[in-house]
């Protein structure tokens, strides 16, 4: 079914954003996040961006102190997801201007809104940055 979850985790392993597209109990989430963080954060730059874990494949990318981890099915196109992460980061960049961990922390709702415009039920909805950011800009204008 495509994307199963999207996590943003800093290099200390703290979750900064978590969006799941399938239902997991809190306990399952905690365990899963812990396992993934342990596995992915220990990897170095020379290793590939894909980690197989349980029934997921984790496609991840690191930007400064922040890791973007996307859990997908076994039959997703890995590189397409890898670039989708970059598209997400570029979109955030355009909104926040050089996005950093703190932006996401303190503007969690915006990060969520952007994500919601980009992914729905594990499928990509929109890849045009203009369209993704339109509702947020609308709201900023309104307030």
């Amino acid at each position: 079914m495509g994307i199963r979850f999207i996590l943003m985790v800093n290099k200390q392993g703290q979750t900064r954003l978590a969006q799941y597209y399938e239902y997991l109990t809190l306990e399952e989430r905690r365990t899963l996040e812990g396992e993934i963080v342990r596995k992915c954060l220990a990897r170095n730059e020379q290793q590939c961006s894909f980690v197989e874990h349980r029934t997921y494949k984790i496609v991840y990318r690191r930007y400064a102190s922040l890791f973007f981890l996307v859990g997908v099915d076994n039959d997703e196109n890995e590189l397409a997801i890898l670039e989708f992460i970059h598209l997400l980061v570029e979109t955030m960049d355009r909104h926040f201007g050089n996005v950093c961990e703190l932006d996401i922390m303190f503007h969690l709702e915006k990060a969520h809104f952007m994500l919601e415009e980009m992914v729905m039920n594990g499928c990509i909805v929109e890849t045009s940055k203009n369209n993704i950011l339109a509702p947020i800009q609308l709201m900023d204008k309104a307030s």
Partner: protein, 996 residues
Amino acid sequence: MALSGMRGLSVFISEIRNCQNKEQERLRVDKELGHIRNRFKNEKGLTVYDKKKYVWKMLYIFMLGYDVDFGHMEAVSLISAPKYPEKQVGYLVTSCLLNENHDFLRLAINTVRNDIIGRNETFQCLALTLVGNIGGRDFAESLAPDVQKLLISSSCRPLVKKKAALCLLRLFRKNPDVVNVDGWSDRMSQLLDERNLGVLTSSMSLFVSLVSNNHEAYWSCLPKCVKVLERLARNQDVPQEYTYYGIPSPWLQVKTMRALQYFPTIEDPNTRRALFEVLQRVLMGTDVVKNVNKNNASHAVLFEALALVMHLDAEKEMMSQCVALLGKFIAVREPNIRYLGLENMTRMLMVTDVQEIIKRHQAQIITSLKDPDISIRRRALDLLYAMCDISNAKDIVEELLQYLGTAEFTMREELALKAAILAEKFAPDLSWYVDVILQLIDKAGDFVSDDIWFRVVQFVTNNEDLQPYAALKAREYLDKPAIHETMMKVSAYLLGEYSHLLARRPGCSPKEIFSIIHEKLPTVSTPTISILLSTYAKILMHSQPPDPELQNQIWAIFSKYETSIDAEIQQRAVEYFALSKKGAALMDILAEMPKFPERESSLIKKAEDTEADTAELSAIKSRAQQQASNALVVTDQHPANEPPQVTQLGMVKIPSINNLENNHVDQEVTQTNGIMGEVEPQNGDILGDLLAIEGPPGVSGTETLTEEGALALAPVGELENAVKPVIDIAERFRDLCVKDSGVLYEDPYVQIGIKAEWRGHQGRLVLFLGNKTTSSLDSVHAVILPPSHLKLELSSVPEIIPPRAQVQCPLEVVNLCPSRDVAVLDFSYKFGTTLVDNKLRLPAVLNKFFHPVTLSAEEFFPQWRSLAAPPLKLQEVVRGVRVMSLGEMTNLLNSLKLIVSPGLDPNANNLVASTTFYSESTQSMLCLVRIETDPADRTQLRLTVASGDSTLTFELKEFIKEQLVSIPAASRPPVLQPTIQPISSSDPGALLAGLL
């Protein structure tokens, strides 16, 4: 700005951030939760702004991994706020905190629907997104028409339409019936004409889901997909904002190519030519560029094109281009490309015959097996396993053995299993096979499952030439200072059987063999001690003439263990001791084991089970697998009708090799006791473990006890009745069990139709009594004989049915508790002077109180696990199953509203299904079913049923059994197990049903 305005939230977040440790964080969170709870308790003075702020805090806390078990109502209530910012927060937080089964979500369904059908586009988007993310079956049923309307409306703007497409996708997954295939394929085809790439991207996802379900209905869409690809590949009419580093939406390209992989072929020559042109362009035109993002994006498209070409497997030339590309990829430094190269090469091996070309890359692949990156090593391992054949098995297996020493723990078991299978499958000679397995045990004993060493024992037993060699090897390993317990088991077994073949060699006299084995006894575990005792008995038997010293030593050991606390050891010690005093008779009893019948390797089966996953197992998965692998040792209970002399069962535990000798012992014992005159060789059964899976062979006919029942299926009254039915009543009843309307009974004068509606544990049946003749029917009587679990109320039936008239008699049904008994309608009338009396079963059967549910793996497995043992979970091996394909079985279960979740079970031969059962006593109760079929023998399967109610579990299990066993039995409800489910004699309905 939504958040910057919320100072309280920012402060809270920074306080959390400043916490020095987890404990401080927890305290701060608890304090905040307490505060929010208090504020929510007292709704007065709580502004919308406050609510919004608190709801965000809750989401934040939830994200940190703390349970937030209150305030859901407040989040949901924000959905109905009039203003956008509040509404938006309400929708977003609701979809993060709640799941589709949450009750509050149902409360919101009306508000959501109003937003969807309303005029405000932004509200429409929010509502569609929520439903698209967490909408459940309720939503599917009440919202699907609205969502479809939006999707095909010409006035609906792209921003709404793209969300409607994915929303419909969700609803379709929840309930495939919401999309009517007939009408929808044309609409889908129109949707694919869409110019807006955002809408097209979403629609393509919807399309993939639809075609994956049923490609037949969507052939007309195929050329449209190719058109989309052409448009993107030629970069026609692609707005700048949809190009990514100069590449026209790589995501849409990938999705479209994925959709095409669901069609088996492409027949139309024009479409085909156009597609191949695009693919050719992608294959040839993708260069490595400096910019990482551009490079990734173009390779994403390239890999998808490769997959599509492989799938179509049409153009020889293109295929060889693909192999060449992959060969290039697995040699590059860039780890992502190398990883994908290995992965796709493995896939390629599965679809097409390129083994020889891929073998040329063997050295390169072996290098990747030593890569520092575990992801790449795993891919290399899978590929090596897939490409192995008799020509390269030696090299590959040796590489795997070498790697075993350094591999991480998570990979070792898989490695060991794969090495063992390859060695067995492709062994150029058997001694090499023995070498490999022994090395495997030596290097990674902890990761060698019992199946592996059982298998080597089978091989050695069946190949006489191999026996001295294997014994010698086993003897050599015993010289090592520290050896693994599994090695101890296999060595002890082999030396017990075959060490006499080595007797002339130095260090191999019975005495020496005995002492070197016995030296290790203090270090081994209880099950291994049992094996050692058997070995001693065998050694004793082989040392002819007896060596008194050895004999005394061994006897001393036997008598020492005669008082062992472990029953198995004690029994062996006692029996061996007694037997060894029998002198010559010992020779017969402890003679060499006979050959094993050839069977499929249990290892290969096991590997097939494991194949589904690529990586380390999740808790869920591994549990599912344990269950699957339990299936490997179905040493199940013997059918009741087998002669009682199967005394071995009472004396030995089946699933371990230890029983090999006991088999003989037992037979001896029973013989001497004179219980039976003749001992049949029971090896087939008792060696279930060694023989690789499958239950006792050739047992069947246990469940065919319905044979006579089948004959008695016709209504009881038939024999006396002069008037014969003109339809097959049994068959009609069967039909009505899965349908809700139809004819129940018909003879030349009367027709009884039935129509039913079911809701939860209640139902309403209407009987249509029709007089077919031109004169009236007199003395019409209809009496319901209800079984004890149903409350039935039939409205009064008129005594006379006028000519050509039909009367309707409503019948109310309440299901009190689970039972398979059926209600009976005693229907009689007079035609002229003939009295016609029929007893008809009413289709108010168990499955009518099912409500279909589809569960995801995440919903299914926790439930499955929590219902761990009888009586809530029952398991049975069912034989005499009527032969049907898995597809047919799936259809059968689905028709009974036991909804099969495809793919939930890692083993493709198994089915997993679920349903909700309603009755007054159980209320709504989730039922889970698992059927494990045996592809080699379709007449048997293993059935596991679980629910929260023990009666329900039992009844459901029996019910499913009836459906699966031979056809006549399928319609024949109860009384199959009168001993287990005694029918109370005061229950006329049940009694009658029993008679039927």
